[in-house]
């Protein structure tokens, strides 16, 4: 059989998606819940690959978008939880607001603490879901347009994004009466959409996340195949050349920055559904850098590779974390893996897979062409 690069690429996607959709046949609910969190991390890996590999923008604050998405839906789910409904008020009130409230403050969202009115629209779950995408995109658009218009690039983008995520994290911690500070939002209700309840330990939640990941992977892959995706890669290689060809470079960069943010925000929402909490640790520096580690190990230039990198690392981590001593050793392994991946495998696992793919294609091309098979159309990958 004749093999083509594109054929093998597609096959990799098909196999991966089939595997994640078939997982409920093998795993119990406990592991399925864990796996669904790792699929969310895989989605983050894909978002990193899009901005780092394809746009050349190394965002060290991807956790900002993840966190904004997570907090947006967690606010809705917090208001929908039993703990918020049973506070002796007509409208739900988060329990921590009551614990922190000044004596004699009215038990209404409008005015229990300063700024608590911001929670009011989140009583509608749809608003929370909408904000989970809109907030990250708006922030990314503003940040992106400012940075890219000023032609800030490379490490300066990394430093700015890093400073922004740490700044927002501090603000969330500081706004303790409004956000429950370090403790984050816990005791959340289940998401109920169109009468369907998403219990994190039920297969429908897993399927929602798995299908979401499949769609994100396919969508991202298609997006980078479009002309705009091609122009984006051209800008990554030489933004000046692209500018003198007539492309509005900041717009392209900002657009894909927003797409990456939207994916991360969506991932944040799904993570909250699977884990039932939102926390400022989502915006820790180490989490944002860890995402980049996943993508680097999996392959920064490959959407699927970065996703698989995230999945693999987290699954191994989950396996070894059963024993606490191993857990500490695992961190050593992660540190080493990272150094070695950067030093010796700059294209990550996906780079290995691509070499294998090219070898297979070359080998099949070298075979004598059988008469029965029509010659394949010329392939460009």
């Amino acid at each position: 059989m004749k093999l083509s690069k594109r054929g093998l690429n597609t096959a990799a996607y098909v196999v991966f998606i089939a595997l994640i959709l078939a997982a409920p046949l093998v795993f119990d609910v406990f592991w399925l819940n864990r796996l669904s969190k790792y699929l969310v991390f895989g989605m983050l890996g894909a978002a990193i690959a899009l901005s780092w590999g394809y746009a050349g923008v190394l965002n060290l604050g991807q956790g900002l978008f993840f966190g904004l998405g997570a907090y947006a839906i967690a606010m809705s789910l917090k208001l929908a939880s039993a703990t918020s409904l049973a506070q002796g008020s007509d409208t739900p009130i988060p329990d921590f607001m009551l614990w922190n409230a000044e004596p004699g403050a009215p038990t209404e969202l409008c005015c229990i603490t300063q700024g608590s009115f911001l929670w009011i629209p989140f009583q509608h779950t749809w608003f929370g879901i909408l904000m989970g995408i809109v907030l990250p995109v708006v922030v990314a658009l503003a940040l992106g347009l400012i940075m890219f218009r000023k032609r800030i690039s490379g490490v300066f983008i990394s430093i700015i994004t890093l400073a922004v995520v740490l700044l927002v994290r501090l603000l969330i911690v500081q706004a303790q009466p409004l956000t429950n500070g370090f403790n984050g939002l816990t005791d959340l209700g289940y998401l109920t959409v169109l009468g369907l309840e998403f219990d994190p330990y039920m297969p429908q939640t897993y399927y929602l996340i798995a299908i979401s990941l499949a769609l994100v992977l396919i969508g991202t892959r298609m997006l980078v195949e479009t002309r705009s995706g091609l122009i984006l890669q051209a800008i990554r290689d030489d933004d000046r050349r692209a500018r003198f060809l007539g492309f509005d470079v900041p717009r392209y960069q900002a657009f894909f920055f927003c797409v990456s943010a939207a994916i991360s925000g969506y991932a944040g929402m799904l993570y909250v559904m699977a884990s039932e909490f939102a926390s400022p640790t989502f915006m820790d520096l180490s989490f944002s850098i860890t995402m980049v580690v996943w993508a680097a190990v999996g392959g920064r230039n490959s959407v699927l590779g970065a996703c698989i990198g995230a999945l693999l690392i987290n699954m191994i981590e989950a396996t070894v974390s059963e024993t606490p001593a191993l857990m500490e050793a695992w961190r050593v392994v992660i540190g080493l893996a990272f150094v070695f991946a950067v030093l010796f495998l700059p294209r990550g696992l996906a780079g290995l897979a691509m070499s294998l793919r090219d070898w297979l294609v070359a080998r099949s091309a070298a075979e004598p062409r059988s008469l029965a098979e029509p010659a394949p159309a010329e392939e460009r990958s």
Binding site: I146, K150, L171, A296, G335, F338
Partner: protein, 297 residues
């Protein structure tokens, strides 16, 4: 008021010691060393261990910490960083891996924890170093109570900054290093052994961070993760000051230290840090080259 300014100055001083090393390595080699914060941490642990086992005071710990972290820096340069010159963002990621390794080394007592051996002064817990009596108190200046230790920090930092300045502008090593900062290819073409100079600069910068760690151990708890915020702050200082500009780093650490100290005095540490971040973001967006960058071509 004077005491607040002193707090700001001492914060800025520690920041400066951390940032000076980064300014040199980043400016000269285009390397973002995320393990630089771990040099601070190792310096602090050197203070803990030398006082625990050798009965050293803080001052005696300083040269030891300088040596230990300089050697560690040299090893990192030879093993990892050297292979990544010209790949700026990759150095950032690889040294992050190195940082994790160093943290784990301390947390696991260099692997002894696997054999059930615990070493006093290492491990995941918190450590403290007690100040000698003569550094502990306060003295009054123009009606304000000033901490002796904070004044000591400022003195040490000024001395080391002066030493660094002398090294950069009064020695042949410094001249070669400055040549590499401006144009590495040209410097190499002129016969400068860039590999050797880079390695030495990396070691020196790491050593300064180690001394900063000893100073920090005197007023903060010591723990394995303490370096991460330090490297972030150090980088913000370097980028805000202008890459490759020593004077920029000095001034921006002073500015950020004062902002931090003054805001913390009127509100709290969280707000102070948030304002520092906001200022740095604004400066980088306004002038991506930093406040005091020299004009390149």
């Amino acid at each position: 008021m004077i005491d607040t300014i002193f707090i700001g100055l001492s914060l800025g001083s520690v920041l400066l010691l951390v940032a000076l090393g980064l300014a040199i390595t980043y400016g000269a080699m285009g390397v973002i060393n995320m393990a630089h914060g771990e040099m601070v941490m190792i310096g602090a642990y050197t203070a803990v261990l030398t006082s625990l086992y050798l009965g050293f005071g803080l001052i005696a710990a300083m040269p030891v910490a300088f040596l230990v972290t300089a050697l560690l820096g040299l090893a990192i340069e030879k093993l990892v960083v050297r292979r990544l010159y010209g790949r700026l963002l990759d150095t950032l990621l690889a040294t992050w891996g190195v940082a994790i390794l160093i943290q784990q080394a301390v947390r696991l007592s260099f692997g002894l924890a696997f054999f059930g051996i615990t070493v006093a002064g290492l491990g995941p817990g918190l450590q403290n170093v007690s100040l000698p009596e003569w550094l502990g108190g306060t003295f009054s200046l123009a009606g304000s109570q000033i901490s002796v230790y904070r004044s000591f920090i400022i003195l040490v930092s000024v001395a080391l900054a002066a030493l660094t300045w002398g090294l950069m502008y009064r020695t042949s090593f410094g001249m070669q290093l400055r040549a590499i900062m401006r144009n590495p290819q040209m410097a190499a073409a002129c016969g400068i052994d860039t590999a050797r100079i880079n390695a030495l600069a990396f070691a020196y910068g790491s050593g300064l961070a180690g001394v900063a760690g000893v100073l920090m151990a005197g007023f903060k708890t010591v723990f394995p993760d303490m370096g991460t915020p330090m490297v972030v702050d150090g980088f913000l200082v370097v980028v805000m000051g202008g890459v490759g500009s020593l004077i920029g780093s000095i001034l921006s650490s002073a500015i950020l230290g004062q902002i931090n100290g003054l805001t913390a005095a009127v509100s709290n540490d969280i707000i102070a840090r948030a304002i520092v971040f906001a200022v740095v973001i604004a400066v980088i967006i306004w002038r991506p080259k930093g406040l005091f960058s020299y004009k390149g071509r």
